[in-house]
Symmetry: D2
Subunit: 346 residues, 4 copies
């Protein structure tokens, strides 16, 4: 059994990790830390876990974490970068769900996150945990930086086009919408039920922190001598708890390509990417609670704009599910282990 | 592997059965019938099943069903009663999710369902599939009548009080609320999103078909020489997809009883009934997608009215999950097999 | 024009008052106070008021309020009781939407609100602002204590029965459900969208602060020599923003009374109470944004339990609309002035 | 008083018209027709109208409608085109909320609506009822074709850019999302609460009927010798009842223009278009139940893509409110008469 620790388990990615890990056949949950809830039974705090987990939160302690095989950080940005070096030195592998190690350019990170980086020397050792791009590197990584939710949906939508140089990368658009759980579990007026239920709005239009991450991922996917991609990214807030829908727009250089075949071929061996039949549109409900990304591609009116629709559960494939997928890869397990949930309909 | 057939799989209890059975380790889905969708891939119809089920709907045919070990009826009332006799004669066991065999008094059934019963001779052979009452009979049953959703939540709330003769049974109240999926998958204006989202109302106040079923169950639980129970049952429609919350009120004959201990003791060996610690209130979200019923009991202001709160997922413990629980019992499997889902938070 | 001030206008009852008062033909909004938002345009804070109100929040100042004809307190409990004496001395009339002056028994108030009362000498001068009971006293009041939301829905449901001595008052039940806006506009985790959307639960079962208020109102309505009423009150939290639904249960002493006629007659001259035709159930959506209470009464299975269903908008008839109704009465205006909104369907 | 008739009042645009017209000071509702509900009180059918309208549905009859000053068609496409010629001959003015007369090119209409047009000779006489473009023509029109909901939100977003030739019109994108009420009040499985609540998806990606209408409106706004605009239009379905949010993307020919000033200036005299301060994002809730369109314009990362966000209530500014605005213009009333509702927050 792989001994895992979870730092910051009282947030939404934390409890989602717990949901997945209590049912994972190869995992033993050894430590669940929370400064504020130390001593309290996890299942008293999250009653969906009653009967599934008999463990109390503990104060974060290096000693306890150092006995784990792998530690997940489900913390706000800034926490992991101040703690993981020591764990890695002790050969504990780290899967970070926060933004701390996602961006390789430390200056760029510091600009968007508006604070100095706490362990810049580690950034180069982190592997960006998008298995559909970096599976091999993940397998051997000491430190995996799990992608953000929007970046996961957006990159999976655009990669087949970018990797094959099929679209104008100076004029990409991702219009995305996320459920409210993406905003985290802090008690903010802006995320009260009475504020966001029954409404829809864009936010972060002037610049969302996931923009440089998406652009980095797309740049990595194109050939080296291309100009850096330019993406317009507009996120919106949905009156739902979970789910991300990204609608990506790009201008085709060549309209003769069979887009459906291209997408099917790109993802045919990917266990968690499902290209829908031509003519379908993916619904977020079909991926809720699962690690799956569903995609559709279409070229409306046979013009030169291609539209790709991409849906994920922001807390699963967009966070904790992808983290478990990375754990499976890192420890040589079948990649779908513990991740075969079926979404609810209705 | 147990070969199962599902009749009427295009409805909500049908797709919920499919969700549970595709992940059940001892089951092989042999036939999924639908007159209207015959020939279509089930996973094209319900895309949450993509990758989990590679089977097309077929026209209902006796021959195909007769080769199953057990057939589920997930049909509107009236269908199972016209078909199951022949299957039972062929030693195919039947688990009926409809109301056809729930009420032992055929006249009472005909009054509430407003039609003649199609196989009154079978009614006496049916076992009412509430495992918490009838586990042994279910194990040997040829025909199991799965309880309705409200009756499941209501009986589990009141049984400990009734079985022990602790309350006045002439004055019981169950105030219940259900998600909209309980109304089924017919295209009715009354169940459109734009009609029921953002509103709340009672319905069926003058008399809901689940009333005689609940009263029958409670009568069975009290001693024979007591007067028939009198229940006021008021259901309400919640702007949610899934979930039932029942709030039961009864007048205690004796206020000295330790209600918390009574409930904990009654259900301590029940794998799917979870009595919450004193002072808690159950939330429907903690049982969504699971087969669990969570209960709380309280005596407000130390007066003589006891209040029991009971939550289930109407499509799981209130229908298809309980049907699978009954299958496990009928075929000698561990009762929780295939039913260990963890609810989502958030 | 009546000059009005609003203290505490950044909360939900505050913005609802503003919505109603900007359209009220006899009112001039003279002061809108908020310590935290002083200097900010109200319509920048609440963009639904853009084009309707050109006023900034000001720091609460006695001088400014003292020039008003009437001041509304839309503050948490504890605030009005520390401020209103001075205003009343200056002949400014006060309409308090908080709980400060609702309960005549100061000790009872202090017990339920768990703090000493700040101006007990004023409590006896306050008029309980339920127009359907106290219209004449309201007309001449200096200080009106607007009823709570649950108490409004509950009393209007039960008054016709209690006033006429038709039911056993030792065994009353109100099972109620409220939209989340009733919990106010503080940034609490418990009221986040991701916590309460898609779930339903009871709360405050052991004792909610509205219980003594409802019991006081019902006691006032029965004859003096009756025993104090005993009410079991169980509130629930609905995944909706606005709306209260109360389902009241009582045991009839005499089942021969024509309940429909009784209710219609009791409320026939009430502009804001609408008794639905027999056989209907009220929907919260039909009163959303309006000052109307809709009622239905039924006696299921012709037994001796009467069920009354009552719906209001918790922020309108349950708070700010009723406050404006009281203003109309206090200033001799038509009672429906500014309160003739039509609810949305759909 | 203006005598109005409403044909097809049992749908969502019909009941929305009724909500607005019962409160309109210059209007008398003379006829409300419905074949299926003839004889029934309108307020029994739509209980939000209890106390506001004392009229029964009648069978549609030419004689009754011919005595009106103006008749609204709130019918599916195909109905108005078969009836209005006769009314217009009798000098009854017609405001059609359906798609029948929106598109001037009859062949184009027949292609997208897949049926022959019933009165092509009238198409040229119809005025497209977008007051922000056609106010003068509307004033004198016999027949007004009210714009669709998406076209209203989309054109108001893009007009300032197109009218001034500031963007590349060969590459426009409108990514829009609508509440479910836009799908109408037919009892279809696809629009059941249990199907669309808690999910989000695109639809009609290959070609939505509002596309040619939007393109026509944008073509009208550019100079005659420009190429016809090419728009990619992707609508999505929101789990809300009301509200449209359009996010429009265009490539600027010149990035030096002051976009905020341009939009403010274009709409400064428009009573129902509100350009938000720079840095804001419009929320659909702030326009719900109102006739207002709120807009924000932004140029992310100072690149050459401009993003315009536009929100309306699809049933008000997107249908019935705009129809009443047109009535006000046609009959020389203040344009905001009866249309000054304040949206709810929360």
């Amino acid at each position: 059994m792989i001994k895992v620790g979870i730092v910051g388990a009282t947030g939404y990615t934390g409890v989602e990790l717990l949901r997945l890990l209590v049912a994972h056949p190869n995992v033993e949950i050894a430590a669940v830390t929370s400064r504020s809830e130390a001593g309290k039974l996890v299942s008293d705090y999250f009653p969906n876990l009653r009967g599934h987990l008999d463990l109390a939160f503990t104060d974060p302690s290096f000693d306890q974490l150092a006995h784990c095989d792998v530690v997940f950080y489900a913390t706000p940005h800034g926490v992991a970068q101040s703690q993981v070096a020591e764990l890695i030195n002790r050969d504990v592998r780290v899967i970070d769900l926060s933004a701390d190690f996602r961006i390789r350019d430390v200056e760029l990170w510091e600009k968007w996150y508006n604070q100095p980086h706490g362990s810049p020397e580690l950034v180069g050792h982190a592997v960006y945990g998008l298995p559909e791009r970096n599976r091999d590197a993940i397998a051997n990584a000491k430190l995996v930086a799990c992608p953000g939710c929007y970046p996961t949906a957006s990159q999976l939508a655009l990669l087949p086009l970018i990797e094959n140089g099929l679209v104008d990368t100076q004029n990409l658009i991702v219009n995305a919408a996320s459920g409210v759980s993406g905003a985290g579990r802090q008690g903010k007026v802006a995320n009260l039920f009475a504020e966001v239920a029954d409404s829809f709005k864009a936010y972060g239009v002037a610049g969302h922190r996931h923009l440089p991450e998406i652009e980095q991922g797309l740049n990595d996917a194109q050939s080296d001598n291309d100009d850096a991609v330019k993406l317009t990214f507009v996120p919106h807030l949905l009156p739902m708890i979970r789910g991300i829908h990204a609608t990506a727009y790009a201008t085709l250089k060549d309209t003769s390509v069979d887009l459906q075949a291209l997408f099917e071929s790109r993802y045919e061996n990917e266990p968690f990417v499902d290209v829908l039949p031509a003519g379908s549109c993916p619904e977020t409900r079909t991926v809720k609670s699962t690690n799956i990304c569903r995609l559709s591609v279409v070229r409306p009116q046979d013009r030169d704009t291609v539209v790709v629709m991409s849906v994920i559960d922001n807390l699963t494939k967009g966070a904790s599910g992808q983290a478990v997928q990375n754990l499976n890869i890192m420890f040589g397990l079948p990649e779908t282990q513990g991740l075969e949930q079926v979404a609810l309909i209705p």
